[in-house]
């Protein structure tokens, strides 16, 4: 009967030996699997929801279709498919034999591996083996002859000239894997061939490969003895190779065979589009009272099981390496190497926890590697095994942000966003400024309902080139009768990139703010935006923080308006253009077709770049990179993209549909030398041309819908307003009267206290000597403040005075009659000199390993934010003193108040800034020292103090000279900037700082006494003698300046 003998001429010893070896191999493999599962089980929970069953079927599909392996590398895909199927079928074949030989026959006496089944089995197994060998041979040829760059492990993007030892181990891993497969396949056929040559069964041709080989052997004159010898030896070679392979599965490259099942099943459908919130605090050690909240990943122990599984699944195929814009532009990041380094570190740490002592960030992965990522998602999008690199990068960035380890410009930008709600450092009030040049008013959704809320975003609001685009879009909407309104200054940075930078706390507060602003707005049905970044976060991330209306990108809106005829093309453009797919629109959210539809509708000929749609090449701005300068001298991603576009030839325009793209490419077009080749245009600008927007009178003909809604709204508003006013008048009067009755005495006191400083009350006037009175010295004294609870001292106490300082908006106005500038003209931040003082205080306590830093501020409620910033950086307690009389207090008054606080705190060192950035008196500190009778030094750059009764101080003199001196302690020092770099406080730290106590102390009318001066007049300095302004753009200015320089040098 058709079958074959399994253990031909194998002695019983051999038999036993084989089973021992087989058992051992299985055990090794099994141990590996258990070990990995154990590691995953011990790792952190996945921060994102995992739906393994839903994912399972997609994984099955992806594995069997080999869809992901074919993408962007078809030949590798074509080779991998027969390897996979060959492997699976041979595995199945071996399993069938095992089932019969070891189970069904010995236990049930049932056999099936014979007859027709055997013939079919032989044929299929032969073809599978052939496929495997062909695939493997092609892979060998590709790896060692074709040598695609993405398979090289030498980090040329980092300037490596030698392959590092670990990478050489990876090469071995690849080599061994291929040779092992080849060996198993070839010895299998050899075995078959010699068996067929010896036995020559009539069904031989059912094993076609082996049969042909057998015929060749026979033809070459192989005799029975030779065949038998080969058959005997080769059996062991084949068997042991196969068993060794099995043993090696969990430990070598073959690991991906198993890991991929997990990593593909647990793919996060929203990966990177929606980043996870930080993991909740883990229970703390027994001695620790407060559990440490998890900020990000500072050690491999913080990676979730899903991350570890991802790491294990990597096959080093290099697709991510090839797709990454950072790698392509020579930045010190390759997503593949990042994953491989993490994997090696994870494995090492798992074997010997902590033994290698390497810090995750710094030793294993460098900070600059993490900062190089543009969060464009190209790596994870192309990864055939479903690795999600960028979320891990962001987790590690969170740790960097927490440690304040980031570039200055990024820090400044984050501060600006926190303080002003935009990354430009502009006044929030000018956010809607771009609308003023429109010929029609734009609705304020806070005041009247609109169908669409336009969330504008920072770049489209503040960047001049993008403001043009915003206006064009507004006009298009207007022309189409699309009803929209803005949130104006209630809108803040959406936070997409803030989150990807890793400043999670700031992102949360931005999301909460914007959601609140939307919630407080009048009725709207949907959100529109031109900014794909805002689009992504509002669509995918805001829902984790609250309810949010559906959002659409303007490309979809324009496509719809054109298709429905609300916008009609009158001049098909007939231009040859290419389109850049924004990462956040295309790859993140799948909108590849809408902008293309628009281009088609307006009659453009679209020529796609080689890298388009899901393979679109990032402009380099994502992930907060737009706030971090790119290194000079290297080609930036945007420049790389410009070359790609130029290679298409004869382009009229490079079309963008993302404000950041506009900024990046407008710049790169010039720097890459393609200025003459094509222009960068926004999609909306092309639409405007095609519909001849200029010819439409937007002022006179408000769209019909508009007019109707407007009329209705006014009518409703009128009626409501009347009724509201009535109701309000009633209730307010009622409430005020009853309040007055309750609080009559306090009210009068408060009214008295809020008298301005410039108008002292009669009784105070009597107290001060009139100018004509006798000369006398009347030392200023500490203000008597109401006592507040001051904890007992434990170690030295450092009191630091911090002030929030106002910076004037460009469009500020002085109320000269009142001698004041209204609050709305200011943006507030922490005084930089006070920040330096605080840093010195923190450094002192850190060096002493003892002591308490108390931050004190004089300011109204909203100045508490400043205090909290100081607490976030490490101050232990805060004190805030306020009453209205202190609003425009002079330095003497401020010093008196601070002295009142110091009297209760009895500090060992008092630190203030050398001056404040707003009024620049440079006086409060020294006046305070005198009132307290403390030794003091001004403009100090460094303090050395061991807690004893003297300290060494370095103070700055004019001209860069410094003086060192000793001062008795306690003392007061006013601190100059530049001594040490102030640390960064993340929004999370600021929020956490809410738990730290702040004592609020009543200023008790101190501002009414003993001021040093009275403001007579407040005015803008005369404009005479000001510079002659050179008008025009940078080009024109450069020319004019060049002329002045040449003229000065006598060159003309």
């Amino acid at each position: 009967m058709e079958t074959r003998e399994l253990f031909w001429e194998i002695s019983s010893l051999g038999h036993t030996l084989f089973f021992v070896v087989a058992g051992a191999a299985m055990a090794v493999a099994f141990a590996g699997v258990v070990w990995h599962v154990y590691r995953y089980a011990r790792a952190r929970r996945s921060p994102v929801p995992v739906h393994p069953w839903r994912g399972f079927w997609r994984m099955v599909f992806d594995v069997f279709s080999q869809r992901t392996v074919h993408r962007r590398d078809r030949s590798a895909g074509h080779a991998h498919t027969p390897i996979l199927y060959g492997f699976l079928l041979l595995l199945a074949a071996t399993s069938i034999i095992t089932v019969e030989y070891d189970i069904s026959e010995p236990f049930f006496g049932f056999t099936f591996w014979h007859g027709d089944f055997y013939l079919a089995f032989s044929l299929i197994a032969d073809l599978a083996g052939l496929g495997l060998i062909v695939g493997v041979v092609y892979m060998m040829w590709r790896r060692w002859q074709v040598r695609p760059a993405k398979l090289a492990y030498r980090r040329e993007y980092r300037g490596e000239t030698e392959t590092r030892p670990r990478a050489r181990a990876w090469e071995w891993d690849d080599t061994l894997f291929l040779w092992a497969l080849l060996l198993i396949g070839v010895t299998g056929f050899l075995q078959e061939a010699v068996r067929l040559a010896m036995d020559q069964p009539p069904w031989g041709p059912w094993s076609p490969v082996g049969w042909v080989l057998a015929q060749i052997f026979l033809g070459l004159g192989m005799d029975e003895a030779a065949a038998a010898a080969i058959r005997r030896a080769n059996w062991w070679i084949h068997g042991i190779a196969a068993l060794a392979f099995i043993a090696g599965i969990p430990w070598t490259k073959a690991k991906h065979i198993l890991a991929v099942l997990g990593s593909l099943s647990t793919r996060d459908a929203l990966a990177l589009r929606r980043l996870p919130k930080p993991a909740p605090a883990r229970a703390a050690a027994a001695d620790d009272t407060e559990p440490e909240p998890e900020v990000g990943f500072g050690s491999i122990a913080q990676f979730s099981w899903k991350d570890l599984l991802n790491l294990d699944a990597c096959t080093k195929c290099g697709r991510c390496h090839e797709a990454c814009p950072a790698t392509a532009s020579g930045a010190p990041l390759s997503p593949r190497d990042l994953i491989l380094d993490l994997r090696a570190h994870a494995a090492q740490s798992a074997f010997r926890p902590g033994a290698n002592g390497a810090a995750l960030i710094g030793d294993v992965i460098e900070a600059e590697t993490l900062w190089s990522c543009r969060s464009c998602g190209a790596c994870m999008e192309i990864c055939p095994v479903g690795i999600e690199h960028p979320p891990m990068i962001v987790q590690m960035r969170r740790q960097l942000v927490e440690d304040g380890a980031m570039e200055q410009q990024l820090r400044d930008t984050l501060d600006m966003i926190a303080n002003r709600g935009n990354s430009f450092g502009e006044s929030p009030r000018s956010r809607g400024g771009w609308t003023s040049a429109l010929e029609f008013p734009v609705k304020d959704v806070r005041a009247e309902p609109a169908e669409n809320l336009w969330f504008v975003g920072d770049y489209a609001s503040y960047d001049p080139r993008n403001q043009d685009v915003s206006r064009t879009v507004a006009r298009l909407f207007r022309a189409a009768g699309l009803d929209f309104g803005l949130l104006y200054e209630s809108e803040r940075t959406a936070g997409n990139d803030v989150r990807r930078v890793g400043e999670e706390g700031l992102f949360e507060s931005l999301a909460e703010h914007n959601l609140e602003a939307m919630g407080a707005a009048k009725q709207f049905d949907a959100i529109v935006t031109t900014d794909p970044h805002s689009y992504n976060t509002i669509r995918n991330e805001y829902p984790d923080f609250g309810e949010v209306a559906p959002i659409r990108h303007y490309t979809s809106v324009l496509a719809e308006l054109l298709e429905s005829g609300r916008l009609t093309v009158v001049k098909p453009l007939g231009r040859r253009v290419t389109l850049h797919d924004p990462c956040h629109l295309g790859r993140f959210n799948g909108h590849y077709d809408e902008p293309r539809r628009v281009l088609e509708l307006i009659g453009c000929e679209l020529v796609d770049m080689p890298r388009c749609r899901d393979n679109s090449f990032c402009c380099g701005a994502g992930g907060g990179r737009i706030w971090i300068p790119d290194p000079v001298g290297k080609e930036r991603p945007a420049e790389n993209r410009m070359h790609e576009a130029a290679s298409l030839g004869n382009l009229d325009a490079f079309v963008v549909c993302c404000p950041k793209d506009m900024t990046m490419f407008e710049d790169a077009r010039k720097t890459s030398g393609h200025e003459g080749d094509f222009v960068v245009q926004d999609l909306a600008e092309l639409v405007a041309e095609a519909i001849d927007l200029k010819s439409i009178d937007l002022k006179e003909v408000p769209a019909l819908v508009d007019r109707i809604t407007e009329a209705a709204a006014t009518r409703i508003a009128d009626t409501v307003a009347d009724r509201l006013a009535e109701r309000l008048a009633e209730t307010v009067t009622e409430r005020v009267l009853s309040e007055l009755a309750d609080r009559a005495p306090t009210l009068t006191a408060a009214a008295a206290a809020s008298q301005p400083a410039s108008a002292p009350k009669p009784e105070q006037q009597a107290e001060a000597a009139p100018a004509s009175g006798p000369w006398r010295a009347a030392p200023v004294t500490a203000a008597t403040l109401p006592p507040y609870e001051v904890p007992a001292k434990e170690g030295p106490r450092l009191l630091v005075a911090v002030k929030r300082v106002g910076e004037l908006n460009p469009d500020f106005a002085i109320d000269e009659a009142g001698g004041t500038i209204a609050d709305e003209h200011f943006e507030y931040e922490l005084n930089e000199w006070d920040e330096a003082a605080l840093e010195e205080a923190l450094l002192l306590t850190e060096r002493l390993e003892a002591g308490e830093v108390v931050a004190v501020t004089i300011g109204p409620d909203d100045a508490e934010e400043t205090l909290r910033r100081a607490l976030a950086k490490g101050a232990h307690r805060g004190v805030r003193v306020w009453d209205e009389s202190l609003r425009d207090a002079d330095p003497v008054t401020l010093a008196r108040v601070l002295a009142g606080v110091a009297a209760q705190e009895t500090p060992d060192i008092v630190l203030t800034g050398a001056q404040s950035a707003d009024l620049g008196h440079g006086a409060t500190g020294s006046a305070l020292a005198r009132i307290l009778g403390l030794p003091h030094a001004a403009v100090v750059l460094g303090i050395e103090w061991d807690g004893a009764d003297a300290m060494t101080v370095t103070r700055e003199l004019e001209g860069g000279m410094r003086q060192q001196l000793t001062l008795p302690a306690p003392a007061l020092l006013t601190v100059q900037t530049g001594g040490s770099t102030p640390r960064y406080a993340t929004m999370r730290m600021i929020k956490q700082a809410r738990k730290k106590p702040i004592a609020v102390v009543d200023g008790a009318g101190v501002g009414l006494e003993q001021a040093g001066a009275v403001v007579r007049r407040l005015y803008e300095p005369p404009k005479s003698g000001r510079a002659a302004m050179i008008e025009g753009d940078a080009e024109a200015v450069a020319k004019a300046i060049a002329d002045i320089i040449r003229d000065k040098r006598g060159e003309v």
């Binding site: 200055q408 410009q409 971090i628 300068p629 000079v632 720097t671 006037q765 001060a768 100018a771 006798p774 000369w775 006398r776 010295a777 030392p779 200023v780 002085i814 330095p891 050398a914 009024l919 008196h921 440079g922 006086a923 020294s926 006046a927 009778g933 003091h936 030094a937 001004a938 403009v939 103070r955 700055e956 003199l957 004019e958 001209g959 860069g960 000279m961 003086q963 060192q964 001196l965 000793t966 008795p968 900037t977 530049g978 040093g1012 001066a1013 009275v1014 403001v1015 007049r1017 300095p1021 003698g1025 000001r1026 510079a1027 302004m1029 050179i1030 940078a1034 450069a1038 300046i1041 060049a1042 002045i1044 320089i1045």
Partner: protein, 321 residues
Amino acid sequence: MAGILVVAEHFDGVLRDVTLEMIGAAAEIKDGLGGPLAVLVIGQDVDALASAANLEGVDEIVTVAQADAHFDPALYEEAVCAVAEARQVRLVLIGHTAAGMAFGPAVAARLGSGFASDVFGLTLDGAEPIATRSGYGGKVSMDLAFPDKPVIVLTLRGATFKAPEEAGSASIASFTVELDAVPGAGTHIDYLPAPPADVDIGKAEFILSVGRALGEDTNLPQFSALAERLGATLGCSRPVADSGWLPKAHQVGQSGTIAGNCSLYLALGISGAVQHLAGMKHVDTIIAVNTDPEAPIFNVAHHGACVDIFELAEALEREFN
């Protein structure tokens, strides 16, 4: 109860310019205010300093002997208060300098006087002094009055008032103040000179200065290359030096170097804080580039432009290529 007391500031045996300028400012209002103009010199070797202070308009020079030559705010405060009290002066003028900032406000607090700092305009309303100072980086000016204050202490901005040109004929008298056991005095250890450097802002004729607008040290090469191309010396404002992006020697200004020989100054992304202006506002030709049209640097510049400095740098680079 009359007269003006100018507190002389000196270093290394030389009167600082601000002292002479204060004398000039005081001489201007002396008659309207009434009383003599006295200069107080506190120091170890006061005679040479006293004669240097003997300028037109000075009526008296008062010297107070100090055991060593090093400035100490506690000693100055003690001496100034003693002299002011003994002479019942109406107005005390102190330089708004690193030293003046240390003892000026303390004197004011001790006397309970009227007080204003960084004053750049001093006038009279009748017989009442009015001090002008500014705020918000020079965008707002304010006139201050000191009603009901028998004595007023002002710290005056340097390089602002005009020093008298002629020598004076003041009497010189010494005044004894016990300075040996003033509580809170420090002990001098040493002076640390500015670190040696490869640039000399003081000698440079053409300076291209960058300010905080630079944003990041990685942006620096663009500007150093531009400076080289233009044949200019690269200068900077304080934040750039504070951040360590350029050595301190490049810093222009009060606590940096005065651009003493400069005839062309190109200020890129510098707001024009008073301490920066102190180092460059005398320059013949100043060109300022700043995106903020209200930036106070435009008050001293001769040519100005509101464009982005990075774009400008690129354009200039092309222009000179």
